[in-house]
């Protein structure tokens, strides 16, 4: 379609045996004849320029529409089917998810301390694209900002509650949801166990999942010269075949998981924000509020996309980082300050003590917890990993592998511990020390606001909470659209702007359709199911990282 983009008649050919110029400093490029964009279609319908990978774009679009149609029209039939798929996966393959999670953590920790950690993403002389603050703010906003808002209070108190009630069994099968053996009747121990379980779900493991995808993509794109798209991770295994159907399939799966992961989260997030608004201002909770929220979020995300990474998502992420930091500081200062500060270290210690048992993939007695919570989380993180990982990869050029892993694995894990301690410990303390039952009995999406309601300036902090939820969704929609656009453009990051806008609008439209037509939860179950094939992608990613790093020059 576009012969001029295929070869460059003005540039002299490389002499036999001559190397391509490395990116910046030393790096080992992969020798391939594939030209990025060679399978792309370029056209200008109605004056709008398009540059897309024909097969990946078209088939992803068709599957998306088909799934949406089936979910909306045959809702009552497919909902049990999707839920059963998820339950079967998390039930029967929990061991696989948990085992794979451990592999990712061990690989990342190992790389930090190995000599391979000195290798720099983008070549030995590459300069970082972003400052630490900008980089870190974006890592966090893309990775789990929204989850921390939602589960910061909800998860610790739920585990605490279950652990305090202790284990119950029927016919030898555990019916309770407490982690490990629980801590019946011992609030102190239940609090420690609840916090350790929460940190387990929000600490090293999820970030290792993101780090593996991000590092593999960054390495194969910036150091090896392959397109920035998920299929490139498979080059060490499939070789030139990644440019054919196996590669198309991998990319389509990534698009599918990202699109529906984002859309379902957007729908569920609108429900949370709307619940918060109703709780705070008495704004009627309902479809109108939620649809307006989604439209608002989508429009702001569209503007942010037009402004680009620097002026859009980076700025929003930084604003949110400051807001979230202030909110956490506020909770620490006006909440049980000493308890939170000592709790930070006690919870870290509790995590260290419990993590071997919590991450044990085999012979678990706490099936409800390890399957319903841990395996579900792992599948959910993994289904998000192509999106978050690719975005992290794109902003991480110029960092060494060690620096990258410290920033993507260790620092966010510590921040998660502090955040969970501040919000969770305060909520638990409200119950243990003050006998306040509100947080325990509140609905999941209201727990944060009920907890803040017990502190001074509740209206202001709750409002900040809602703003944070909304802005985290804007940054997710924004970075998600960038990622989908890059994958469907065959790895081109400079495809025409209208394509990005298209994906952002589609996400909003899917979220609204699912919200009104029902099926958000069903589709979320389906999205989680993509976690299984992606676990394989990630395991290949581990191999690719090692193979790729070992072939890099080490000065």
């Amino acid at each position: 379609m576009a012969p001029e983009s295929k070869n460059n008649e003005f540039a002299e050919d490389y002499a036999p045996g001559e190397r391509l110029p490395p990116p910046q400093g030393e790096a080992t490029l992969i020798d391939t004849d594939y030209v990025i964009g060679q399978d792309n279609l370029t056209a200008s319908p109605l004056g709008i320029n398009l540059d897309i990978h024909g097969k990946v774009f078209a088939i992803s679009a068709v599957i998306t529409v088909l799934f949406l149609f089936v979910t909306l029209v045959f809702q009552t039939q497919v909902e049990p089917l999707f839920n059963a798929t998820r339950d079967w996966l998390t039930g029967n393959l929990a061991w696989f998810f948990i085992l794979a999670g451990n592999v990712f953590v061990l690989l990342c920790l190992g790389l930090i301390f190995s000599p391979l950690g000195r290798i720099r993403i983008g070549g030995s002389e590459a300069d970082p694209d972003f400052s630490y603050t900008g980089w870190f703010a974006m890592l966090f906003a893309a990775g789990m900002g929204i989850g921390l808002m939602f589960y910061g209070v909800a998860e610790p108190i739920t585990h605490f509650d279950a652990a305090l009630a202790g284990a119950t069994a029927e016919n030898g099968v555990r019916t309770d949801w407490s982690p490990l053996g629980g801590a019946p009747g011992d609030p102190q121990a239940a609090a420690r166990l609840g916090m350790a379980a929460t940190i387990f779900h929000w600490g090293l493991h999820p970030w290792a999942i993101y780090a593996v995808v991000a590092l593999a993509l960054a390495l194969f794109s910036f150091n090896k010269g392959l397109p920035l798209t998920v299929r490139s991770i498979f080059y060490p295994v499939l070789g030139e075949r990644v440019w054919g159907w196996p590669g198309h399939l991998i990319d389509m799966l990534a698009v599918f998981a990202t699109l529906f992961g984002l859309a379902t989260s957007l729908g569920l997030g609108a429900a949370q924000a709307s619940a918060g608004l109703a709780h705070l201002f008495g704004i009627p909770e309902g479809n109108v509020t939620m649809v307006l929220l989604i439209i608002g979020i989508t429009l702001i995300a569209t503007i942010s996309i037009m402004l680009g990474v620097d002026k859009g998502v980076k700025r929003l992420s930084q604003v949110n980082m400051v807001l979230a930091g202030l909110l956490m500081l506020f909770v620490i200062v006006v909440g049980p300050t000493l308890l939170i500060l000592t709790g930070f270290f006690q919870n870290l210690w509790a995590y260290a003590l419990h993590v071997p048992a919590l991450s044990n993939p085999f012979f678990r007695e706490d099936a409800n917890f390890s399957q319903g919570w841990t395996a579900f989380y792992w599948a959910w993180w993994i289904s998000w990993s192509p999106f978050v990982g690719m975005f992290i990869a794109r902003i991480s050029r110029g960092r060494t592998v060690r620096e990258f892993l410290v920033a993507v694995l260790l620092v966010p894990s510590l921040v998660s511990v502090l955040w969970m301690t501040a919000f969770g410990q305060t909520a638990i303390n409200q119950f243990v020390a003050e006998g306040f039952e509100g947080v325990r009995i509140a609905a999941l999406e209201l727990k944060l606001f009920v907890m803040l309601g017990q502190l001074p300036l509740a209206e202001l902090t709750s409002l900040i909470g809602i703003v944070l939820v909304v802005v985290f969704f804007i940054t997710s929609s924004d970075s998600g659209s960038l990622v989908i656009d890059t994958i469907t453009a065959g790895g081109k990051v400079d495809a025409p702007k209208p394509q990005r806008v298209f994906w952002a609008l589609i996400e909003g439209a899917i979220a609204i359709a699912l919200l009104l037509g029902g099926g958000l939860v069903a589709l979320q179950a389906m999205t989680v199911s993509t976690g299984l094939p992606f676990t394989l992608v990630l395991l290949v990613g581990c191999y690719a990282i090692l193979k790729g790093l070992l072939s890099e020059p080490r000065g």
Binding site: S5, N8, A11, P21, Q38, G308, D310, R397, V493, D494
Partner: protein, 138 residues
């Protein structure tokens, strides 16, 4: 009248830039000016080059070849961006000052309705730089 002419180009679409290249060469000959070919590229592998260094090398080759064809001295400069589509205008405006250009010759498309939402780069650069900008229609 002009000493240094900046010509923004995209190596992936050189064919479409022919009119602007010719006009720039003619003006350069008239005023004995230097032409500086400027190009914005992503730091990720793209269709023209797999690394920024390779893009730089190809742009240099392009500039040299153009110089041979029109006989005026040429230079080239690659601007690397992590989001070229969004940052293009800003980078070009900055490049005008950085290289000390006193004229910009740029290819642009015909006006169209979509310009209200997605303005053409040429128009945006022209409104933000003090030097003369010649927009060459396709």
């Amino acid at each position: 009248m002009y000493h240094r002419i900046m010509v923004p180009i995209d190596l992936a679409h050189v064919g479409a830039l022919e009119p602007a290249l010719r006009v720039a060469a003619d003006i350069a000959r008239l005023y004995q000016a230097v032409i500086c070919y400027v190009s914005v590229t992503a730091n990720t592998p793209g269709s023209v080059a797999r690394t920024p260094a390779e893009y730089d090398r190809k742009l240099t080759a392009f500039a040299t070849q153009q110089g041979v064809e029109h006989g005026q001295p040429t230079e080239s400069r690659v601007l690397i961006s992590h989001d070229p589509v969004a940052d293009l205008d800003d980078l070009l405006v900055k490049a005008v000052a950085d290289i000390g250009a006193d004229l910009v010759v740029m290819q642009t498309h015909l006006p169209r309705k979509l310009d209200a939402l997605l303005p053409a780069h040429g128009g945006k650069v022209a409104t933000r730089t003090p030097v003369s900008v010649l927009l060459v229609r396709s």
